[in-house]
């Protein structure tokens, strides 16, 4: 089912934990390490992904074709099993990570990421570079590469890019991101400014002086545009825009096109002969086909991948992570470990404290000190599920700094929590927490959290609330709860897609639907965020976002708990499997079928 947090699909332990309430999560990097004791004192013998530093850069000199992956060969069929079909493939409606992973091979964007482990480079995809600005980000110019074409053989033009961007404004395509629309309109209520191309109007802010040039003009400087164009800068050919039906069968500009699709059942991607490798600096396209099958629960999918019989030998799963029932089997098998990818997820999970109810920062700190970090991690699967977190951002975020502001013992510090509570004169304060009564794990988490908080001097009252209803309730500023989990991932590796949506107090509105579930409202931090959003240099901006992270944590509207890892395995006949750090799952890009 589609997760109530629309950006990306949350799977595995994270899903359990977040569904369960009273928890926090994040994920961890690519690679292998030897046995080591982690922060909970647990000896880890499995290949882990520590919170490795990610090296980001923008490169405007990269051209196609991509260098050959050693040992890779062209041909073969990769089978993909996923529990759920991808709800959207229309570029204007895509938002989930699985949708983006598939769109990566179907729909080229103006910019895109080249990833080699923790080295992540934003490069021009359809465009020759990541965008040019001479005025701090108000005006941006893109030039399309030579030879880029649609699957029908026609050239991709600047008019197609303009039309694709204009489509983002259509109210019926509300599932997708809204950064570009808000930037163009200068307001979040962008629909009142422009409603898309179907009404016959065009956007003057997007100029196309010739077939290859796109000039975009914003009301304010928007230095993150190069990143956003990897997400939203996807062209659509107006004459092939089938509107609602486009969602099922978009016109391809990537190395593959859709040969067949049965919603919720299957999809087959075959080579797009109009795609030319020398126009593409990112994609490899080794397999002849990708055959997707939907509907099988992740446990069965992993049993398939472990068994690896027949066509399952060259199978993967895009979205499903190793279920906790099979984790021990995977971790104890050298064969399975050898064919697994593991990495930090871009998701961050933390406990949100309702600051409208708990106004005393000492009480909020007491909650943070009392939290049983290691005990809960053990409950959801142990050391392989991730490392304890210090920051609010994922290690995949540009500028992420895992600085330990409070030095809280990994098993919590009930004595310090009690001291804080006593100082605040609120010893015995009641904390109301929601939990999902239909999930056994949720109940177990509540028990452990309750024990820990009550040991510190709180009185915990747990209230059973259905998970779907809970998401609506905790997004309402008048909700009666004190503590609940929130999950978030960056849309691109910049704090601009994390801190403002989550902690800009000016965005808080009455009723459900708030992203700022702690209802944190600090005008000084709002002003600082406005300032950082105008910094053109992403490295410098990253440092400033890390500072804001620290300042928010100092007021404890939330506290982070775990950087989660995501582990997936693939069939033994698959080569080139890597983890996509942007989408948080196995990458389709470098895969090949072994001979």
């Amino acid at each position: 089912m589609r997760h109530p947090l629309p950006r990306r699909r949350i799977a595995g332990p994270l899903a359990l934990l977040c569904a369960a309430v009273l928890s926090g999560c994040q994920f961890g990097g690519h690679g292998a390490s030897a046995a080591a004791a982690d922060s909970c004192g647990v000896q880890s013998t499995s290949p882990t992904a520590t919170a490795a530093p990610y090296n980001y850069r923008l490169d405007n000199t990269v051209n196609g074709p991509v260098a050959q992956v050693p040992g890779a060969r062209t041909g073969g069929i990769v089978t993909v099993y996923d529990a759920d079909d991808y709800p959207h493939l229309d570029p204007a409606r895509i938002y989930l990570n699985s949708e983006q992973s598939v769109a990566f091979v179907l729909s080229r964007a103006l910019t895109q990421y080249v990833q080699h482990g923790t080295d992540i480079t934003l490069v021009g995809d359809l465009a020759t570079d990541t965008g040019r600005t001479t005025d701090g980000g108000k005006n941006w110019t893109y030039t399309l590469r030579d030879g880029v074409a649609w699957e029908d053989g026609s050239p991709i033009t600047s008019a197609d890019v303009k039309y694709g961007l204009e489509r983002e404004f259509v109210s019926g395509y509300s599932e997708g991101p809204t950064y570009f629309q808000s930037w163009i309109a200068g307001t979040d209520d962008f629909g009142s400014v422009y409603s898309g191309p179907y009404a016959g109007k065009t956007l003057d802010a997007i100029a196309t002086p010739d077939d290859k040039t796109i000039v975009i003009t914003f009301k304010n400087p928007e230095p993150d545009l190069p990143f956003d164009m990897a997400l939203q800068g996807v062209p659509v050919k107006a004459s092939k825009d089938t509107r609602e039906a486009y969602d099922q069968h978009p016109l391809s500009s990537g190395p593959y096109k859709i040969a067949s699709r049965e919603i919720d059942k299957s999809m087959v991607l075959v080579r797009n002969s109009a795609w030319k490798p020398d126009t593409d600096p990112i994609r490899t396209a080794y397999p002849d086909q990708f055959v997707f099958n939907f509907g099988e629960p992740e446990l069965q999918t992993y049993q398939r991948l472990i068994g690896a019989a027949g066509s399952d030998a060259t199978a993967i799963t895009l979205s499903d992570v190793v279920p906790h029932q099979l984790l021990d089997q995977v971790l104890s098998s050298p064969d399975l470990l050898a064919r697994s990818v593991v990495s930090v997820s871009p998701f961050v999970n933390f406990e949100s404290i309702n600051t409208k109810r708990i106004t005393d920062v000492r009480v909020r700190k007491a909650l943070m000190y009392a939290w049983p970090y290691c005990q809960l991690r053990q409950l959801i699967g142990g050391a392989d599920t991730g490392e304890l977190a210090n920051a609010l951002s994922s290690p995949t975020l540009l500028g992420h700094a895992d600085d330990n502001l409070y030095n809280i013992p990994p098993r919590g510090d009930p004595a310090m929590a009690r001291e804080l509570l006593t100082a605040a004169g609120q010893l015995g304060r009641t904390i109301l927490v929601p939990f999902d009564p239909q999930t056994e794990l949720s109940q177990q988490i509540v028990i452990i959290a309750k024990q820990a908080l009550e040991a510190a001097g709180f009185k915990v009252v747990e209230k059973p609330v259905d998970r779907k209803r809970q998401n609506d309730q905790v997004g309402n500023p008048s909700n009666p709860y004190d503590l609940y989990p929130t999950a978030w991932s960056a849309d691109w590796p910049s704090g601009a897609t994390v801190y403002p949506p989550l902690w800009d107090g000016r965005l808080i509105h009455a009723g459900p639907g708030n992203s700022d579930k702690s209802f944190f409202d600090d005008p000084a931090i709002d002003a600082e965020m406005d300032q950082v959003k105008t910094i053109v240099d992403p490295i410098e901006a990253g440092k400033r976002w890390a500072q804001i992270d620290r300042e928010i944590r100092a007021q404890v509207p939330v506290f982070p708990t775990i950087y989660f890892r995501s582990r997936q395995i693939y069939g033994p006949g698959i080569g080139g499997a890597t983890f996509d750090n942007i989408y948080g799952e196995i990458s389709l890009n470098y895969l090949y079928v072994k001979s």
Binding site: M1, R2, P4, L5, P6, R7, D85, P87, Y95, V170, S171, G172, Y173, S174, E175, G176, P177, T178, D188, D189, G191, S195, G196, Y198, A199, R243, E244, D247, E262, I263, D264, K265, G295, E296, P297, L299, Q300, Q303, R304, G307, A309, D466, R467, K468, R469, Q470, N471, D472, P501, L507, H509, G511, P512, G513, S515
Partner: protein
């Protein structure tokens, strides 16, 4: 007979109206806002209001229900991507999750469910009744105990337990069965049979015991009737006695139960379809509830109700063929 049929059909319509209304109104007691599915990550109140308007969720529930019912009989117009789209009769609306016309989705899923239901029903009817007949004819012998014991053992197993175990053992470890899957019979008849064999057997196992016990009990009771004893005394052959006279009397309750079971399976074997990843109506119904997809939920519930009602009518008609007493009462 025609009058009887008309009466039954009118009653069926009334029942369907009640079922549809109850389901529709109960949906709104479920948690979750269907509009949130289509709203982006930063979902502003304006965006949510616009989505509610597009989906018609801004109308009173009674109006929404009326529009839904009207759509089934006269079709409806929807706005999708700033474009009016007509949903033809029978219009069950559009799924808020996969954005497909519901009727189209149902039609796509129905062949898998029919294949599963008919295959399993054939097995459990033949084997179950067969075991029952043998047990009755060899009552109190080891054959009786073995047959009934086997079927009871089978039915006491849960599909969601035995299914994955059999998949692991028979398919993955021992490679003696093909992997369960649904392949359309029109595309690959052999693949269709092989893919459904394991789901058929597991599903049939659950029903088999009931038919065996029912058949056995009915046959034993009938075999003790006066007219059977009289027939035997007059020298009627055992074959004629068992398969014509006893069989006919045994058949009535079996047909009743079979009609309802088959209709239930045709409206979706939720657990079996989920266990074996068969994309049929049962799985569709389950996911519609999980995803708060009202249109799909309504359609699957109504389709199940229609099938059960049709099965009831057919069973009653078949009764009248088998039993003249029933025919006489229907005509009055």
């Amino acid at each position: 007979m025609i009058g009887y049929l008309i009466r039954r059909l009118l009653a069926a319509v009334a029942i369907l109206a009640v079922i549809s209304a109850v389901t529709f109104f109960l949906f709104f007691a479920l948690p979750g806002d269907p509009g949130r599915v289509d709203c982006g990550r930063v979902c502003t109140p304006q965006q949510l209001a616009a989505i509610h308007h597009t989906l018609g969720l801004d109308h009173p529930i009674v109006v929404q229900y009326w529009n839904f019912i009207k759509g089934i009989f006269v079709g409806r117009d929807y706005t999708q991507a700033d474009q009016k789209v007509h949903c033809g009769v029978p219009c069950f609306g559009y799924s808020t999750v996969n954005h497909q016309p519901v009727w189209h989705t149902l039609i796509q899923r129905f062949p898998a469910t029919i294949s599963l239901a008919l295959g399993a029903a054939t097995i459990f009817l033949i084997v179950g009744v067969g075991f029952g007949v043998v047990s009755a004819l060899r009552s109190q012998t080891w054959l009786d105990r073995l047959g009934i014991g086997f079927t009871v053992f089978g039915s006491s197993l849960q599909i969601f337990v035995v299914g994955p175990i059999l998949i692991q053992l028979l398919v993955r470890d021992w490679h003696v069965m093909p992997p369960p899957q649904y392949v359309p019979i029109t595309r690959d008849p052999v693949g269709w049979f092989k893919g459904l064999l394991l789901p058929w057997l597991v599903l049939a196992m659950v029903f088999m015991a009931f038919y065996a016990r029912l058949t056995r009990a009915q046959m034993l009771e009938t075999m003790g009737e006066d007219f059977i004893r009289a027939g035997r005394a007059r020298g009627v052959s055992s074959r004629l006695l068992h398969f014509k006279h006893t069989g006919r009397a045994t058949l009535s309750p079996i047909i009743t139960v079979f009609g309802l079971d088959l209709a239930g399976l045709l409206s979706g074997a939720i657990i079996t379809e989920s266990t074996f990843n068969i994309q049929g109506l049962g799985r569709l119904a389950l996911t519609s509830v999980q995803q708060s997809d009202l249109s799909i939920m309504m359609a699957t519930v109504l389709m199940g109700a229609v099938l059960i009602l049709i099965a009831n009518v057919i069973v009653d008609l078949v009764y009248s063929v088998i039993d003249p007493r029933v025919r006489a009462s229907q005509l009055t």
